[in-house]
């Protein structure tokens, strides 16, 4: 009880910090843009009917690309591609990694060994290299890029959840639950999981940024979204060809940067607010 009330007292204070406010406002703005892109965009993001490579001006705030498309409209529509996919990715990673990690930590023995050895295998590769190999193996498409990021993203949740659950397993209130006759599943669900969600939430918030960077990176490499999709990474990639028209690559890149930054600001605040002790575990895995 005391823990809960302490949290309630602490949260609002943390959220009033400038970092949290800025992060919250930017994230909210992007969410609104993602929902309302058709209402906000002045042009069709796919129509190739405008003057080519027009620099930013009153008619086209972000200029036009080499196919005569309005970049401002494409960046707005890009939010509908990248943001929902990134959120979905993180939710799936939390579910898969969290469940596997919880089982590994709670049951120990061979379950632990099997899950963690698979996680170790993923950790044995630098993320982009593995994601790139997976995406290339599955074939270049946005769905496969999401799958590839998922493959490299779940183990960090498994590792963190496992550690937290292992620490929690021996606590008196969990043991007393077991002595009262709770099944393993019930004990895990009612006693253990609610007490490990805080750190995992922090990890997930910080991971939204990492996931978006990875996903757009794959698209940049031509292994994700295909043209003409207004995906931000692919748009930056198309800007490489028309290098001297700086606006083609700059604005979609800024879109990625602001979204990632907003969620990192939020994640950082959330971590301070929820549990300063977990700071280290999370930073280690944020790689």
């Amino acid at each position: 009880m005391s823990r809960l009330s302490r949290r309630r007292r602490r949260l609002p204070e943390a959220w009033r910090r400038p970092l949290a406010v800025v992060g919250g406002v930017i994230a909210l703005t992007w969410l609104i843009v993602a929902v309302a892109a058709p209402l906000l965009a002045p042009y069709d993001p796919l129509a190739q009917e405008l003057p080519r490579l027009a620099p930013p001006g009153p008619d086209h705030w972000f200029g036009t690309d080499q196919l005569g498309r309005d970049i401002f409209s494409r960046v707005l529509y890009g939010a509908r591609v990248s943001i929902p996919l990134t959120l979905l990715l993180v939710v799936l990673s939390v579910l898969i990694g969290g469940l596997l990690g919880a089982c590994a930590g709670y049951f120990g023995r061979w379950v632990d060994e099997t899950v963690m050895r698979f996680a170790d295998l993923v950790f044995a590769f630098p993320t982009v290299i593995l994601a790139m190999v997976v995406a290339a193996a599955l074939g270049a498409s946005l769905t496969n890029a999401v799958l590839a990021v998922l493959v490299v993203a779940w183990p960090s949740y498994a590792r963190v959840t496992r550690g937290l659950v292992m620490g929690m397993r021996e606590r008196e209130f969990v043991l007393s639950g077991r002595l009262l006759g709770f099944s393993a599943w019930r004990s895990l669900r009612l006693d253990v999981l609610p007490n490990v969600t805080g750190p995992i939430l922090v990890l997930a918030t910080l991971d939204i940024g990492t996931a978006l960077l990875l996903l757009s990176g794959l698209s940049f490499l031509g292994l994700g979204a295909k043209p003409p999709s207004p995906e931000w990474g692919a748009m930056v990639s198309s800007g490489v060809e028309v290098f001297d028209s700086w606006w083609v690559a700059t604005f979609p890149g800024l879109a990625i940067l602001t979204v990632v930054l907003a969620f990192n600001f939020l994640g950082d605040t959330l971590r301070d607010a929820l549990d300063p002790r977990t700071a280290r575990a999370i930073k280690v895995r944020a790689l």
Binding site: A124, G253, L261, V284, L287
Partner: protein, 366 residues
Amino acid sequence: MSPTSAPGKAPAGGTAGRRAARPGVHRHPLTRFLVRRVATALLLAVGITLVTFVLTNLVPGDPATANLGQRALGDPALVAQWRAEHGLDEPLPKQYLLHLSGVLQGDLGTSQQSHRPVAEDLAEFVPATIELAGAAIVVSLILGVAFGVIAALRRDRLADQVLRVTSLIGISVPTFWLALVAFYIFFFRLQIAPGSGRLDPGMTPPPKVTGLHTVDAVLAGQWDVFASAAGHLALPALVLALYTIGLLTRFTRSAVLEVLGQDYVRAARAKGLPGRTILFRYVLRSALVPIITVAGLAFGSLLSGTVLVEAIFAWPGIGQYAYKSATALDLPAVMGVGLVVGAVYLVINLIVDVLYGVIDPRVRLS
């Protein structure tokens, strides 16, 4: 034993390895720790070969289609011959065993793109990447640790706030975009940075000793070549380092803060030791231990970053090679890159682990 069961047993082998180490209670704990770490690393190495192999065999497209011309594809005999040449007509488990025994002999197969042995291709491209990633990790360690210490010592003051936001920006910038923007600004607009590649056009690389142009130029005493190589290296290395600088700043800050709160630091302060002595003798010494681990992991993100940065700066390293091979579905080349990068990363983390165990007795005893 069927060929498939051999790799399948790799994870279980990890347990066996650990159990085998346990009865040796008489051995020195450090020896036991080292044996266990090396055994784990070897199993992971086998795992890496399995992962790259399985993944590259998921390819839905036929590699023959990707690599043979239209006319050759029309001739079934030619296609069959090509597949036989590349061992693609064997059952998968056998292909894996062939691959594994080849790897052990240093044979990574032949690239279907360059028609050269993958090992040869990689040997040509690896030095460029080592030079780039090495320069970036040195810069990251120096700046990241320095910034982190400053932030911790100035906790909650202006310097800390500024560094907190900057380091967050550092880990939020898409590397590929930053590379492009930096190239545009410093090369195209300001014309401070030299163009892409490792040397100025027309310049002959220094005689090859290490493969790192900067080092080789110094060894040969060719200072103009060194200046050119260092100039070409600076911008991509800085771009690559930005992410790890942010990461190390954040980690160092929390590691130092944790040590600052320890009783022995308080005792040193109470004793009246000068601040500098406390910082270097007491705080940094123990804070650097966890930082070593993170630096090992940070090297992984640098290796990842090279794929994105090398493409922009036309840096002839394995990052660019990886990208070209993956898009062309060049199976042996993709496997080779995955293997080499995975192995390099594995060795670095093994060294880090061992260092950590040697320095901190708690780790090897756990």
